[in-house]
């Protein structure tokens, strides 16, 4: 379903720096449909860069990224939205629309995909209840805590039932109760057929999941285990 083929990503340096930043170095791996993959590594290992490459937010310096056998970086800009609608992304920095309420942020994806008002009115309250934000539906992101924003981002990523969920540190700001809820939700969604790619620092989450773990270190894959554990 998803294939990273010899991916290298180098960020050019500013004048004051001597060496460019190698975010990813010759990374290759495949993700099959309905897989649940965790990507672990220190900060700066390249986890977020991998996810950005899949969304075509960044272009690789070398290599190719395939989604359903299509090179994502060869897709015409006007067709990129159709790729991105198949992916539900939870960004590390939430990326909520600051001028829209929690309800409107969650409903936005359904609006742009042409869902009817009736469908939206039915689906949004359900997902907000699941993530525990029913009472915060009319608040703007600036009025939410870090954890609430994260849950709002999760709600937005899940509402349109995408084929793939990309979750970049989705539990970073959550308390243990909500962390457990979100991980169980991701597992449930995965069981229903959605592919999940989870990037996380949380050792307990990884060890509890018992799913495939890809470990990145300085932009390279150092471990790829079917039933992996978080190893320092």
């Amino acid at each position: 379903m998803i294939k990273f083929e010899n991916i290298t990503k180098i960020y050019p340096c500013h004048a004051s720096e001597s060496n460019p930043t190698i975010a990813l170095a010759d990374v290759s791996f495949e993700v099959k449909s309905e897989d649940f993959i965790s990507i672990v590594g220190k900060s700066g290992a390249g986890k977020t860069t991998l996810l950005k490459l899949l969304l075509a937010e960044e272009k690789p310096t070398k290599g190719r990224v395939f989604f359903e056998n299509q090179d994502v970086h060869k897709i015409e800009p006007e067709n990129l939205p159709y790729l991105r609608r198949k992916i539900g992304a939870v960004f590390q920095d939430y990326k909520l629309l600051s001028s829209k309420t929690t309800y409107e942020n969650t409903a936005y994806i359904l609006e742009v995909t042409g869902a009817s008002d009736k469908e939206i009115k039915k689906a949004v309250p359900i997902i907000l209840e699941i993530v525990g934000l029913k009472d915060r539906a009319n608040n703007f992101p600036a009025q939410l805590s870090g954890g609430e924003r994260q849950r709002a981002a999760i709600a937005r990523a899940l509402i349109h039932r995408p084929e793939v969920i990309l979750a970049d540190e989705p539990t970073g700001n959550l308390d243990p109760y909500h962390t457990l809820d979100i991980i169980e939700l991701l597992l449930k969604i995965n069981k229903m057929g959605t592919t999940v790619i989870l990037s996380t620092h949380d050792r307990e989450v990884i060890n509890k999941l018992g799913k495939r773990v890809i470990t990145l270190e300085k932009g390279k894959i150092v471990r790829d285990e079917k039933r992996g554990r978080f190893i320092l």
Binding site: P77, L80, P81, R85, K95, L97, S99, Y108, V112, S116
Partner: protein, 302 residues
Amino acid sequence: MLISIKRIFRAGWQIFSRDKEVALATVFILFLAISLVSSLFLFTNFSNFIITSAQEKIDISVYFKEEAGEDDILGIRKEIAKFPEVKEVEYVSPDQALAEFIERHEKDLTLIESIEEIGRNPFLASLTIKAWEPSQYGAVSNFLETADFHDLIDKIDFYERRSIIEGVSSLSSSAAKIGIFVSIVLMLIAVLVAFNTVRLSIYNSSEEIKIQRLVGASNDSIKGPFLVQGAISGLIATLICFLLFTLLSWSLSSGIENFFYGFSLFEVFISNLWILLFLQLVTGVALGTLSSSIAIKRYLKV
């Protein structure tokens, strides 16, 4: 399709109403641009009035010899009136000329007494000729010089007034050209200022636009609300400008007429009401939406 349009308008209104400071700034700048265009429109009417008034005061007089009979002169008048450059021809009889002279100088008793001393009417019959354009008086004068009835003419005063007539003609033409040039320059400045203000307000939303692209919104669904926001800003600016100009033209009209007799600003405003409103609407809405459309393009490349 209808749902999409409804959502675009709703989102556009949200963008406008939720960021009040940016909305106010945008409306204000558009208001200034529309006011400038409206002012130029009214000023064009005013300058046309001034030029026309000046042109109205110009004419040439043809004085006939004493032996020329009234019937002859009236016949010559009909012939001159057929000339394409001639706007109107007025016959002034010797008695009429005397009466007008006495009326103009009634307070100058010395002058009146000296006329009485002569014992007879010293004024000749004349034709006062007005042309359509000041530049046409030369042609009219040449026609009179070479016409069959030239022998009956005592004097044509074109050559004495020539410098004034040519001066007014030149001034009218220059004023029109300068007016057009200044209008274009001022409008360009207004458009650039308005465009940059809208561009800055869109820059404010650049991160939101990027996020919308990343979560799967198409360019049209992102652009639409911003165009609506631009149109709303333009509409509101137009409304404010229209109301203000109505009030200003009504309140200043009598004052301006005191200085420029015959020019009623309010009447000009009312007689051009729909044109002015259309101009303001087109300026405001077009400026608002076009500026948004151009400004947003660079942020849709994610």
